[in-house]
Symmetry: C2
DNA sequence: TATTGTTATACTCTATAACTATA
DNA sequence: TATAGTTATAGAGTATAACAATA
């Protein structure tokens, strides 16, 4: 079917371009809703990401920077602001006195939980798909991401 | 099938959570590669988005702000910087002297073209899917986005 | 009076470089 | 010496409010 599709440039045919555009739309909408959900809790996007990270487990400052793919110096300010609001605290690392472990406080974990709940609601479009369709989508996304289990 | 899935919370079952996480990964990777491609042309993400917009058609400043979902005052600075590099120019609107039309220059259109080419390369993971799989992915993404044609 | 674009201001995020305290 | 975190600095994006020109 559709034999006129050139095999030498498989990523520039009309179908692929349409999928690329759809992915772009998903990305845009995802980001809008993430920022919106963060703003409802008076958090910036970066602060929300760090808080979500720390709500799972405490982490050295350096590791946060790696997760965020930014310079370590930036993390200082972000954690400063979260700490100023009582959502995060800095603890010493017993094994290495150079390291500071950033950890979510009880209040921070609560906020992170509410944030995640509102995000899940934002992602609800998936509810429109049947279980079988979600399975198909999962497999296609996995393959797209290079996970070939 | 899978009747144990609670119908009251269809967006919190394990399958959906996995898809949500995969979508999150796609979003993260898409953004990384977009910023990276922009940086290769010495552009920030916002500048690249505006340039891509204007390479298609000239546009009032106000409309750029709507497309970017930001305040109009921000667009002034972004267009200033693009204009300072000769990629964009401001033209008067013949129909309304309050309006300034931002338009990509020849140089700007060229840069936007190279940017898009490098983006298509970045999105090449789609090439790993067959035409049929891409069609399926397209339809699922469409439905996820609420487009029901 | 309402709208368009701009300016002024303040805050956040970002990268770079230099500093400190540990290792 | 090498590493972890911080500080200092500068540039960019963001929202808000006030302004000039035009409708």
């Amino acid at each position: 079917m559709t034999p006129q599709t050139p095999r030498t440039t498989p990523h520039t045919d009309a179908l692929t371009l349409e999928v690329v555009e759809l992915v772009g739309t998903v990305v845009a909408r995802y980001h809008e809703e993430y920022e919106e959900a963060a703003a409802k809790h008076s958090l910036t996007g970066a602060q929300a990401r760090v808080l979500a990270l720390l709500s799972r487990e405490p982490m050295p400052m350096r590791r946060i920077a790696q997760k965020l793919k930014c310079e370590p110096s930036n993390v200082t300010g972000i954690v400063d602001r979260l700490e100023g609001r009582g959502l995060v605290e800095r603890r010493p690392d017993p094994d290495d006195r150079r390291v500071k472990l950033a950890a979510a406080t009880e209040d921070g974990r609560e906020t992170a939980g509410r944030l995640r709940a509102s995000l899940n609601f934002a992602r609800e479009p998936l509810a429109g798909l049947s279980a079988e369709e979600r399975t198909t989508l999962r497999d296609l996304l996995r393959r797209m991401l290079g996970e070939t289990p």
